[in-house]
Symmetry: C2
Subunit: 195 residues, 2 copies
DNA sequence: GTCTATAGAAAGATAGAC
DNA sequence: GTCTATCTTTCTATAGAC
């Protein structure tokens, strides 16, 4: 039985963030109240303000952390040689990374409009950086004559939308494993770019 | 100068719905207040309840109407002969229809979680019906040996995600016309299914 | 570090005057 | 059909006891 008082800042802080991510994903940022969040964590509403200055910071920090994780993980991902190998690496990485944290993906995509302007700009810059990684691969493949992409910018957006869409329907324990899904989507990506 | 009193039910009703769609798309359902909506329409908050029993009905009606419009428009769309022609018709139709009503698309996609369970089930059924249209095309093309699709269910979801994604970045008056976009995306769809 | 209590603002929805 | 006024609830955030 956990005691009701004492120091828990090392534990409660992460629990607040985890609960916020879960609730923001399920109900939406605007629909989540600080009382509801506190109840999920198991503390009173006032205690939340020990871990975040306000609700907006909670949202921004979660999205910022997600984008930082994404870029850091891609940076150390083994990519192989040449545009085709790199495109395959990107496709499989994107699906795998996103399926491992569906709540963060959902929040980062759906709650952009609830960010205050300055916060929005910072997240957008990170998202753009990630897009540029894929576009670089497509441009290289196009330049080498490996791909047949009429417009690398549009292809970038189209492929990311397609790959990210996996998180909207994939359910653990369903008909297909993550590896199956990665394989099937990689097949479609490869064909879509004419490789 | 419009007078401030008198009968406007024929005009105000549609204006309420149009303003709700616009605000729901920009701020999100949960973040829009009835007072804010009333201000957008140019009436007082109380007057809104002449046109909707409550806020939830406003959301559901907008989404229901969008899905009905979508299915009705596809039903009368010229589709040509054979799976390849039908897939092209679907791809171009989907992009064109969605680009003509970006707010409705955005709301119908982002606000599903704010529907009460019964309303959610009704919208989901309509969305499923639309998906089945595309899946039928893919299955037919696969059966005839025209397409090389490893999994028609996944391909359906992947292609719809890709095509719908256009609404997140397309801006009127930009580098590409709607017809350009339709052409480029159709090219990627065709390749993705191995046709 | 967490609690209770509450300030102050804003929400959804309704009543009744005009 | 629209307005003003208001009921009731809920919200974010803070103050102060323990």
């Amino acid at each position: 039985m956990a005691r009701k008082t004492g120091s828990h800042s090392d534990i409660t802080g992460p629990r607040v963030r985890a609960a916020a991510l879960r609730l923001f994903a399920r109900q939406g940022y605007a629909a989540v109240s600080m009382r509801g969040l506190a109840a999920e964590v198991g503390v009173q509403a006032g205690a939340l303000y020990l871990y975040t200055p306000d609700k907006q910071s909670l949202l921004f920090d979660l999205m910022k952390e997600h984008m930082d994780d994404l870029l850091a993980a891609w940076a150390i991902e083994p990519k192989g040689e040449g545009p085709l190998a790199r495109l395959e690496a990107f496709s499989r990485f994107h699906i795998r990374f996103n399926l491992e944290r569906p709540d963060a993906v959902f929040v980062s995509y759906m709650e952009l409009r609830n960010l205050e302007p300055e916060n929005f700009a910072r997240i957008e810059a990170l998202r753009k950086t990630y897009e540029t990684e894929l576009e670089g691969i497509l441009k290289a493949g196009q330049a080498e004559g490996l791909f047949a992409v009429p417009d690398t910018k549009l292809a970038t957006l189209a492929l990311i939308a397609m790959l990210t869409g996996v998180t909207t329907w994939y359910r653990e324990g369903g008909r297909l494993s993550r590896a199956d899904v990665g394989q099937i989507y990689w097949d479609m990506v490869r064909k879509a770019v004419g490789a």
